[in-house]
Each structure stands twice: as C-alpha cells, then as structure tokens.
Symmetry: C2
Subunit: 347 residues, 2 copies
Amino acid sequence: MTDAKPDEKAGRRPRGTVTVATIARLAGVSSPTVSKVLNGRSGIAVDTRERVEALLREHGYRRTDNTSATPIVEVAFSGLESHLAIEIMRGVEEVVRDRGLTVGFTDLQGRAPRAGRRTADLLLSRRPTGVIAVHSAYRGTYYQQLTASGVPLVVLDPTGEPVHDTPSVGTTNWSGGIAAARHLLDLGHRRIGVITGPPGFMCVRARLEAARAALETAGLTLDPALVRSGAFSFDDGLELGRQLLGLPKRPTAVLCGNDLQAFGVYEAARRAGLRIPDELSVVGFDDIEPARWCGPPLTTVRQPFAGMGNAAAQMVLALAAGQPVEPARVELVTSLVVRDSTAPPPA
Amino acid sequence: MTDAKPDEKAGRRPRGTVTVATIARLAGVSSPTVSKVLNGRSGIAVDTRERVEALLREHGYRRTDNTSATPIVEVAFSGLESHLAIEIMRGVEEVVRDRGLTVGFTDLQGRAPRAGRRTADLLLSRRPTGVIAVHSAYRGTYYQQLTASGVPLVVLDPTGEPVHDTPSVGTTNWSGGIAAARHLLDLGHRRIGVITGPPGFMCVRARLEAARAALETAGLTLDPALVRSGAFSFDDGLELGRQLLGLPKRPTAVLCGNDLQAFGVYEAARRAGLRIPDELSVVGFDDIEPARWCGPPLTTVRQPFAGMGNAAAQMVLALAAGQPVEPARVELVTSLVVRDSTAPPPA
C-alpha cells in the first residue's frame, strides 16, 4: 500500500518500537523533519511528507514521549453524526474529566476538500494525549495522517466498519436488525419494507441481512421490490418512503436504516394520509432524542452512544498510558425500544 | 453582596488591575494560597477560599499571565441545552481552530449538587485561555468561582438573561416574539394560545410580552385563559397543549416557548385528532434541526446558535488578548422561518 521501500533490518523490529531516527534514515531526511511531520508543522515538501508518513504507518510508529503531551483527548466528528455528537461527547467526558484532561471538539463539516490535512495539522500541533475519531472522520488523508503520527487513536464507529489496524468501538448492528424485524413479525406483519443507508457501510449490510435472516427463518422472503437504499437522511427517508407507500401493494411496515430516515417515512405517511401505527408501522435505528418527540413516539433500536464514548475514552487513555488494549475491537449491545409507531397490520 | 471588608486604598484601584499580593493581604493569607484558589487546587479551608473568591470578584481581578495559559477555549453547558450544543460548538470552533486552540467541552448534566465546585476546580486547573459558559451553567457556585478566578469569561445566553458584570451574547427575543405573533395575525388567527417557558427566564418574558404587544397593537387582547407556562420540554408542551386543546373554546393557533414545547403540542394535537395546520397552527422558537423533520415541518423563530458561538469565541479571545470588549452585550437577530405548521384558521 506504499511505494516506499523499507529497510530490511528496520522491518524486523516489532511494530510500535521504531524510532524517529530510523524513520529519518529510511526516508533520507533529518530527524527534525520527521518530528515536524509528527507534530503537524508546516514547511515540508508534500512528497517528503507523504514518504515519511507512509514509513511511519508501515512501521507502526508510536509516540514514547506521551508525558509531554497536552492533557486533551480530542474527539473528531465528520459532521454527519451531529445528532449523535452530544451523547458521545458526554460519554467521553465522563471518563476523561476526572483525570484532569480536557475533552476537545473538532468537526470536519463543511471543510474544503484539502481541509482534512489542515485540520489534522492543527490537531496534531496541539499535541493531544489521544484522539477519538468518529467514523467517517477516520477516512482519507485526515485519518492517514493521524495514524502516521503515532498519537493514541481509537475509532468510534456507529457505522459498523471494523478497522483492523486501529482499536475501535462499535455496536451489534446484526442483533439490532434481528430484534427490529422479529418485533414486526411478532406483531403479524408479512409485507415488510426495508429502507437502508448507503450500501458501502457495513452496518447497512448487517441490518439488511439481519432483516432477511429474520424473515427467512420465519418462513418468509424479503421482497426485493420492497427494499430501497439511500442516504442516512430525513430527505431520503421521505423520498424512499413515498416510493414504498406508492406501490400497488404497499408494505404494512417499514424498517428504517436510522431514525432520520424513519422521520422521513413519517412525513411520507402524513402526506399520503396514512396513520401510524394503525395503517403503517415504522421502526428506526439509533434512538436519538427526537425519537421520543415525534408523533407518535418512535419504536427504534437503541445504540448506546454515551457508552460508546465511554469505552472509546477508556481505550484511548489506556493506549496513552502505554497499556495494551485487548480486545482491540469492542461492540456494545443494541436494544429494541418499543414505543407507539408499531402495531399489528390493518386487518 | 459580600461580608468581606475591602481595604480602602485597594478599593480605589481601577477594576481589573488588582494584584494577587493585594488580594492576599486583604484576605490575610499568603499569595500562594490565592494562586491555589485561582487555579482550582485543593487543600484550602472552605471559608478561606470563599473569602478570597469574594475579594477577587469584588476587585474585578483579571489574569495578567495569560501567555502561560493552556491553548484551550472551554465551552461549559449545563445539560439543559444539549439540543443546541453542537451548533454552538461548531460556531465556537470556526473562530478558535485557526488560532491553534482546542475547543473544550464540559457538561454539568447529572452532576451532584456540590459538583459545580469540583467541575470548576477541574476546569480552572487546566488553565484555559478562556471559558464560554452557556446560560444556566453560569449560575451558582460554579459561576461565582469562574468569575473570581479572573479567567476570560463570556456568557452565551439563549435565555435572554442580560449579565451586567460579564460580557455576553444573546438574541433578540422580543423581535422574534413579535414576528411569530404577527405571522399568525396575518394568517387571520384571533384566538391565539401561548405556551411559555419558566417565567424566571427573561427570554420567556420577552416573548410573552411581545405576543401581547402584537395582539394589542392589532386591536386584540391576549386572553389569560389561553396562556400556560411550563418547562422548556416536550413533556410540558404535551401537557399544556392538552390543556389548551381541551378548552371549550380552544385556540386556533399556539405560540410555543421553544421547539421542544411545539413538538409536545404536535403530539397533543395528534392524540386529540386535530390536523396541523388545517385545524391548528403551531409556531416554535429556536429552529433546532428536528424542526425540519417533524410532521409537518415546523414554522419557528430561528436563533442563530452557530453565530452566537462565533461571537462568544471572538469576545473571549479578545478578552484573553487583553483587548476591551465593546459593547459587552451583543444580541444577534432572530428570524421567522415559515414552514408547514401554520395556515389560516378553519373557517
């Protein structure tokens, strides 16, 4: 995955023990240049920088001078999860505050395409004790640069994307999908529609395949005509809901990829003059705060965001203290919260 | 407001120029003891500490050693504004990030009664460059301790409580209240109900009195039977909405104290079988994100939370740089956002 050729001898060192001097030698630069890359300083040619970063990643460079780090745990969002952010921040803060550390907030929303590097530079120049990157934020240049820096890093991952080279916290999407589908089956639904998020996300696959498995083990099949995919947004929930409710044989219930999509289906039902839950059952995923406010209160699968923040904070502080993080992947359980948006299908 | 007796000579110094040594002399303690109080250190008797803090506040102590502060602007919430928090944090971050500072997050939600002091101790011990306290968080022990510490402090205040001794950012609640009421009057409503927040908040008074003024200048009166007050919550909106909609002569429109109350009224209307906007118009206040998702999308008065965070950050950085902040109170404009929850009254 890199075009740099590692020195054979250095390659035999265990991961995480390579030094700045070794990286400098391999890259053909001075040690201060490597330090500049690690600390987000400017004034280094892009190709030099990328060569150094590739070597740092390849050799699994880790910081050994964490005692001089600033007492901050930075939480980085990508802007897509703003409706989840406060619960996550609270979970992180609960663990971090009593150690005398600050919980830092960074959001990549609305940044220019090259802003990832600038944001990562700024973040690294603050020399944080650790970084918690919330899913989409961990992709691309930004993430590459963070992993290269050797700063203690944990991915908090509501999208179910296991990251094998970085410790991460997720939830049990599959079990949540099963619970949601079984709830509808138990109520007597047989024509169940599914609105999913973008198929590139593993959580989307897990929830969709769980719904299929629940139906098939109940002796039914998931009708492909009743499956729609779109963004994790209100707008796509509205449009895809409109499509499903406009079918000649419309579903009596819809499993949604997240709560925002479910709110969109609510609006599609309202426009179509269909009452929830009497004429249509709707199930969300996430259990964000507005799920309790919508009319009627939404049945949904709860992801424990505060607990995820809590777990991620414990992991990142352990990494910062030089302790091993085992297991490196944690999945917290989801739970079905039954409210008023689900009922038996109309007779 | 304090039982300490200030030295006459020290009392003649302009506010903000008193030294640690002077405070120590007035309090009858050593300078290191005053420094401990300023930096949230433990091991000082409560009465000594309170005496020192009272003197610091009285003399308007300000830090002069801000160059040694940690590059963090801390944003402190009280837990009541979690649905507003991310937009505020983004606004703060936009200003702060390019200066190389971290945006810190603290939430007092769910803390024990004495936790305010512990939280303030932790916050001060981090020696932040500045603190932005979001309204309710600025009350009580916590706020007293922050003002005593001399740390650059700005109050971000969505509740319209002007604070005369601390720079603050609010919004034009009165104008927002006028715009909301006039919108309903223009649609032809004459029986207008009002659900307000807790009457102790100035924003609540401003919005209620604005509604009354709009009605009276239109030749109408605000019927006291149609006014209800409660917490800024979904639950209180639901209960107070239920009361208003159960009246023999129910209102054709309801002005709500915030969006959460409006969502409660939506649910009360749904349970009463009343369609919005055909049979009932509803107006919120705040324009939080779920306002676009509820069925139907909510007409509401927008408070520019990101702009407030932006303004508060600029003020706190100016204070930290030793620059004067004039004016010390900023009010950003509110604006009516007309969506689908308002229509002419039923014929």
